[in-house]
């Protein structure tokens, strides 16, 4: 019994290490996009990822063929959504870093954009995960994409518009 327990533990540790080696880079980037921090200074994203990975580690033996990456991403997204709600306007609110491409967006817009575009989660799945309707997710995603592209090309269209007016 004890031996079986120990062998299960070493197997879990090995599998989990391989999983982290493969998935942590992508997940950390996603978390950094969510928290809108600079890529090399992201304590909140690291904490979020650590907690999600710990949750995955704790339910590793009960995954039963479910994708651990999927499970970690789900936990990450719901935890971020909850945290964003709690911190909304409060003292713990952190200011987005200007180096992040998603800095001008709200936490919810960032979350939906990252889930839909960066992670490629289906609209219905993202809606079910966040407790919104699929139409609402589509609308928010559309708005966020517009804001993102407008910001990334921000000064250029304004300059051409100014030039175009007098002529």
């Amino acid at each position: 019994m004890r031996q079986r327990h120990a062998s299960q533990e070493t197997r879990r540790a090995r599998e989990f290490e391989a999983f982290v080696a493969g998935a942590a880079g992508r997940l950390l980037h996603a978390a950094t996009l969510l928290t809108a921090e600079a890529p090399d200074d992201n304590p909140r994203a690291r904490r979020l990822l650590t907690l999600s990975l710990a949750h995955t580690y704790a339910c590793w033996d009960r995954l039963r063929g479910e994708d651990p990456y999927d499970r970690t991403r789900q936990y990450l997204a719901t935890r971020f959504a909850r945290g964003a709600w709690h911190h909304h306007g409060g003292l713990g609110r952190s200011r987005p870093h200007p180096a992040s491409p998603l800095a001008p967006l709200t936490p919810q817009e960032r979350l939906i954009l990252v889930l839909r575009l960066y992670e490629g989660v289906a609209e219905e799945q993202a809606a079910a995960l966040l407790g919104l309707s699929a139409e609402r997710v589509r609308a928010i995603c559309h708005r966020a994409t517009t804001a993102l592209l407008h910001r990334s090309r921000g000064p250029a269209p304004a300059a051409t518009a100014k030039k175009a007016v007098p002529s």
Partner: protein, 83 residues
């Protein structure tokens, strides 16, 4: 600009600036926290079983001593003495 073009452009924007270097302490910390969660769950499960066992034993002992299924002796009717 069509919808898919816009999405592709936004996707490129999200993909860039990725350093992809994960600090190793994330793995260690995740394992430490995960193992602690597992340990706490095991302890909680054990405590719950222990509590259920204690409740079952307590109930059995009480039932055997109090015998609630035996009809209590009546003390409202006076005993019949002189017939």
């Amino acid at each position: 600009m069509s919808g898919s073009d816009r999405e592709a452009a936004a996707r490129r924007l999200l993909e860039q600036t990725s350093s992809r270097s994960v600090p190793p302490e994330i793995h260690a910390e995740a394992v430490r926290r995960g193992a602690r969660m597992l340990r706490r769950r095991a302890v909680a499960r054990r405590l719950l079983w222990l509590l259920m066992f204690a409740a079952a034993v307590g109930f059995t002992v009480w039932a055997l001593t109090a015998r609630p299924w035996v009809e209590p002796p009546s003390d409202t009717t006076p005993p019949l003495t002189s017939w």
